[in-house]
């Protein structure tokens, strides 16, 4: 459903992504793992249209979206949960979710979808009037995910959702991602936590300084010696 074809991305003279190709099939969880600075965030920013590639193309459902501006891509069903829990800190939890539905015109359905988010994340329901900046780190991550779900995306792009969370919360977040996927949303998950990401992923790609060096099913990669050495501490 989403395909990157030999994507090259530069920041000035720095060549950050080199001939990156990957495929995300409908209904799958695909993970892109790699160390700090490998270019994972850059890949997501390019997919969502915030950064323009210098060559290569991005195909969504058979349509070449490489030249389509970022806000239009959101309409097409690409929704991103940015790195580092970017929430609207001084607005309430409820207002954050409303802004998630900024592009939608069906006000009534939006209200019931907000209730659905509260059903999925009961703690957000309890905190709905509170400024989002006062939530704990885990709650903020849930809010960022809930906000992205308000767009009913075809494909959800997640940038290191487990970053900076306590181990229990990490497990919870991965359970949530799996659950969202089971309910029909395709997921592209960028992670440094390779073991957890590979455990829930159908397909994994390993990115090393801008180049995809390995790919395979989640289980294959988890068993691979190279991955074990580099990312799984063994």
């Amino acid at each position: 459903m989403l395909e990157l074809k030999s994507l090259n991305v530069h920041y000035g003279v720095i060549h950050v992504l080199k001939d990156v190709s990957l495929t995300v099939g409908r209904g799958q969880i695909v993970t892109l793992i790699g160390a700090n600075g490998a270019g994972k965030t850059t890949a997501l920013r390019t997919i969502s249209g915030i950064k323009a590639p210098s060559s290569g193309s991005i195909i969504l459902d058979g349509q070449d979206i490489t030249k389509i501006p970022a806000p239009k891509r959101v309409v097409l069903g690409l929704s991103q949960v940015p790195e580092g829990r970017r929430i609207f800190a001084s607005m309430s939890v409820y207002e954050n979710l409303e802004l998630g539905a900024y592009l939608r015109k069906d006000t009534k359905a939006v209200k019931s979808d907000i209730q659905d988010v509260f059903a999925r994340f009961p703690i957000l329901g309890k905190r709905q009037k509170q400024p989002a900046g006062t939530l704990s780190g885990g709650e903020q991550q849930m809010l960022a995910i809930g906000r992205a779900l308000m767009l009913k995306p075809k494909i959800l792009l997640l940038d290191e959702p487990s970053m900076g969370l306590a181990p229990i919360l990490v497990n919870e977040i991965f359970d949530i991602i799996k659950n969202i996927n089971e309910q029909g949303t395709t997921v592209l998950l960028v992670e440094q936590n390779a073991s957890k990401a590979l455990a829930i992923a159908d397909i994994g790609y390993v990115l090393e300084t801008g180049t995809i060096v390995l790919s395979g099913t989640g289980a294959e990669l988890a068993a691979s010696d190279d991955v074990k050495k580099a990312y799984l501490g063994g």
Partner: protein
């Protein structure tokens, strides 16, 4: 709920208007007081429009007096030729549109700038506008324009200001206003939910400039003398101070801030040498005790009053 709010606002406006009218008719308010009222109106509209740019959309601007001057000169040049109410309306529309176009012209190239850099760019823009007015023949250079027909009275200004502030307030409470505020909060998150941040930054500049242009037109037609020097950096800072003092992101804050600061500086007029010192000390004190401004990002509403009452009765 919304209706009740609107009715309350209109009732309040009518009450203030009637009160001023009675005071003026009975002679308790002389022409000196009327001038203060006119200044308050102009500063309110300037503060609300700058608040849209800086407080709501989060784009720091030090050039608001520049936008005002475009509206003022455009309106003045037109009403000198057509000294009638229609001429004034034409001047007001032409001036505010010209100002909005310059707002666009500054908004687009400075899109990538933020914070200090944006402040310097907007300051530069305002200085360029000032230099242009200094050197143009049609604006009579440094001597400025005199004997502009005095087509404004305080009643007109009151209504124009109320109407303009209501429009700004509507914009802020709309979906588009939310989008502007989201940019202030976090640009990356705004993009991720599909908000066109470039569009809204430019729109905030254009709309803010438009209303600054209206206040410029009111100024020209009330005070009937224009000099480029009036619209310098000091004026821009004056407006910014009102906005920060009232609360970045609060329209009621800007309204109260404009009334308060204009009154104080009018009251201190007789103590010219002490004036700046008292004024400055007061600002420092407010910023120390209420760094978020008098109202923070809150608006005055019934909810605020009922909450305050509850707190009182809980004691």
């Amino acid at each position: 709920m919304f209706k009740a709010k609107n009715i309350a606002a209109v009732a309040l406006l009518a009450a203030v208007y009637t009160a001023i009218k009675i005071l003026r008719l009975t002679g308790i308010f002389g022409s000196y007081h009327e001038i203060t009222i006119a200044q308050i109106c102009i500063n309110m509209l300037l503060a609300c429009s700058l608040n849209l740019i800086t407080g709501f959309a989060g784009q720091f601007s030090l050039g608001h007096a520049g936008f005002m001057s475009i509206g003022a000169y455009a309106c003045a040049l037109i009403i000198i030729r057509f000294p009638s109410v229609y001429g004034f309306m034409l001047g007001l529309i032409a001036g505010s549109l010209a100002s909005a176009v310059v707002g666009l012209a500054i908004g687009i190239p400075t899109l990538r700038l933020s914070g200090d850099y944006l402040a310097i760019a907007t300051l530069g823009m305002a200085e360029i506008i000032k230099v242009v007015f200094f050197n143009l023949k049609i604006t009579n250079g440094a001597a400025g324009l005199m004997n502009i027909p005095r087509l404004m009275n305080w009643e007109w200004m009151f209504c124009l200001t109320a109407g303009s502030v209501a429009l700004i307030n509507n914009f802020i409470n709309s979906r588009h206003g939310r989008a502007c505020m989201s940019i202030r909060e976090d640009e990356i998150a705004s993009q991720s939910v599909g908000i066109d941040i470039a569009l809204y930054k430019i729109a905030a500049f254009a709309i803010g400039a438009f209303f600054a242009g209206i206040s410029g037109g009111m100024y020209a037609a009330y005070f009937y003398v224009l000099k480029p020097g009036i619209f310098g950096l000091l004026k821009s800072i004056d407006i910014l101070v009102i906005v920060v003092l009232g609360g970045l992101g609060s329209i009621s804050g800007s309204i109260i801030g404009a009334a308060l600061l204009t009154l104080i500086s009018a009251l201190l007029q007789d103590f010219a040498s002490l004036r700046m010192i008292i004024y400055a000390l007061m600002l420092i004190a407010i910023m120390m005790f209420r760094p978020q401004g008098l109202l923070g990002t809150n608006e005055i509403s019934f909810a605020l009053f009922t909450r305050a009452l509850k707190r009182e009765s809980a004691k």
